[in-house]
């Protein structure tokens, strides 16, 4: 019995010594949830980053979208003493306290989709609302040949981000595409329903026979509008674009009814977070115009604690399958 105890103690001591020997940073990444396509894609990218950089990344998230479970995991990681903590909170305010504790311990805290948080080093975003709107407009204008009538369609007037994106798109058109006209000042609402977007498109085409483009900001507008365009036999003459989840519009892209939809790449965003953490760990200061070592984040704008990159991408028939969500 004594021998066994002695042996165990010896093993434990050996373990502790082994732990002291390592000098590289311990990095943790906490997603909103695991086992979901969007976050599986992020995980794939985080693992890629880990192999490329040679650092170990602990990728841990709750199995359900539950803020309480997420905070518990973050507590575990903070108490283990990781050096860099990257995360995407289910509920930013609920994570403030644990982030505060983390920073008191000298842990570097990098968030995403949490622009309102205080107890973080940086929050990294793929875009600001205006730039995503401009991105949508650029892609629509290209398809329309930079001329013709268009409308904007939002999920609902109460959705702040949808409206901001639409505003950004209209501003971009006024600045860069003088031959395009917005025919309906009022925002059209599809109530986040593809069937309504379909009906609206039909009605609008009747009202404005020269209507050539539909710029949607909700994820349901383009799928509905595209079906309507196809049913009217106007594929190639009338165009739609929106922010969409690739798998939901995959067949429309394959059929060529939609040329592309817009999205930001959450995998690249994750890599930028990890790079940012690593840079800070190595003592570099992050300021306006910072280069996070990734093309999309090579000239970040810094607003308060928010680092804004340019990570918007188009999803086309060639690449929609690579996301897996």
């Amino acid at each position: 019995m004594k021998k066994i105890v002695a042996l165990l103690i010896a093993v434990m001591m050996l373990m502790s010594v082994a732990a002291l020997a390592e000098g590289t940073p311990t990095i943790a990444f906490v997603p909103k949830v695991i086992g979901q396509a969007w976050w599986d894609y992020v995980q794939k990218n985080v693992e890629e980053w880990a192999t490329e950089s040679g650092y170990d990344v602990i990728y841990k998230g709750p199995t359900e979208v539950d803020a309480a479970a997420q905070v518990q995991i973050m507590t575990d990681l903070v108490n283990q003493g990781v050096d860099i903590l990257c995360f995407s909170p289910n509920d930013p305010a609920a994570t403030e306290e644990i982030c505060k504790q983390a920073r008191e311990k000298g842990i570097i805290v990098i968030a995403t989709e949490a622009a309102s948080m205080e107890n973080i080093d940086f929050d990294i975003e793929a875009h600001d609302d205006g730039s995503l709107g401009a991105f949508l407009m650029d892609n629509l204008a290209r398809q329309m040949g930079e001329e013709g009538e268009y409308i904007t369609m939002v999920g609902s007037m109460t959705m702040e981000s949808h409206n901001n994106w639409a505003d950004g798109a209209v501003a971009r058109q006024e600045e860069a595409y003088p031959n395009m006209t917005l025919v309906e000042d009022r925002r059209v609402e599809d109530n986040s329903d593809a069937q309504q977007a379909y009906n609206l498109t039909m009605q609008l085409k009747e009202k404005y026979p020269n209507l050539k483009g539909i710029l949607g900001t909700g994820s349901f507008s383009a799928p509905g509008a595209a079906r309507a365009i196809a049913d009217m036999g106007l594929t190639g003459q009338m165009f739609a674009i929106n922010v969409a989840i690739p798998s939901e519009v995959g067949d429309l892209l394959d059929e060529g009814i939609l040329e592309c939809v817009a999205l930001w790449d959450p995998g690249v965003a994750a890599k930028a977070m990890l790079n940012c953490g690593l840079k800070m760990f190595n003592g570099e200061t992050i300021e306006d115009g910072a280069d996070l070592g990734i093309e999309e984040y090579s000239k970040c704008r810094l607003v308060g604690k928010v680092l804004i990159g340019d990570c918007d991408i188009t999803v086309t028939k060639d690449n929609w399958r690579s996301f897996g969500f």
Binding site: I34, E64, A68
Partner: protein, 338 residues
Amino acid sequence: MKRKNLEKNSYTYMLLGLMAVTLLFFTILKGNLMWKGDVWLGMAMQFPEYGVITLGLMFCFICGKMDMSFMALGDFATIMAVRYMSAHADGASQVGVILVGILIALCIATVGGVINGLLVAGLDIPPVMATISMQLVWTGLSVALTNGNSVKGLPALYTEIGHKYLFGFLPVPLLIFLVVFLVCMFLLQHTVYGEKLYMVGTNIKAAQFSAVNTRRMVIGTYVLCDVICCIGCLIMISTMAGAKADYGTSYVMRCILILVLAGVLPNGGMGKIGNVLIAIVTIQIIATGVNMFSNLNTYYASLIWGALLLIVLIMSTRMGSGGFPFRLRAAKQGSGKA
């Protein structure tokens, strides 16, 4: 005599053994992290919230009933409490506002418990059905009130309490857990209520014929269960700095798992509170332990929990009837429950 005691407590020893094995497992693989003081302090901060909730649910289980609504009810009660507290947060007396807020939450929990009890004992609706309906009602009310957003604005004092260490080492949530634990232990082991509870749970008909007012017992137990669960939720909102309709939804299954692991089956009439404590700590060690491995995803915690449960079930059926709380072999021995 000694031999008899050993047999009586064999289940406890088995649980302790399992806890030792899991500790050993993580020590060998991650000894450097497992024995950091911070990790243990962290665990002492983490388990009280669902630990207290588990203790509440335990009463329901011993009574032979089920409650699926406790988390939804707790979320609703805490939402109301936070709303009150945030509306009066800038007043002069923070302590008074906090006490009233807590009282509001506990009152709502009491009402919820009474409703559960009336549905089950008064209308004879099967407990799972009745409480799932109530779960939907409470969640629906919470979402309707808040649009699914979290409610913020707790007085600073309240959020501080959840993160404070008394004398520099004793986390306040742990202290609350210990107090609730002692009260529950007293209720179960030293009061007439506790004795009757096991009777009702073992055989509700027999209890009825022994002049126990079973209806009152069931309603009272639901109230007790939901009030204690609400205390757990009150700890939770302090760590989360707010309340929301879906905070802690993953705790429902976790609490049930802990109770079954501890030998408190929803069939009723069995289980010891000491075993529940061991099970809570074991579950926390596994959750924290799994989070130490960079290449293990969080599902492995569930996997180990499940495996542990299986081991316990198998070992229980292999052991004699002595101190073991499951009666899976009761039929063979001809001494089963009615």
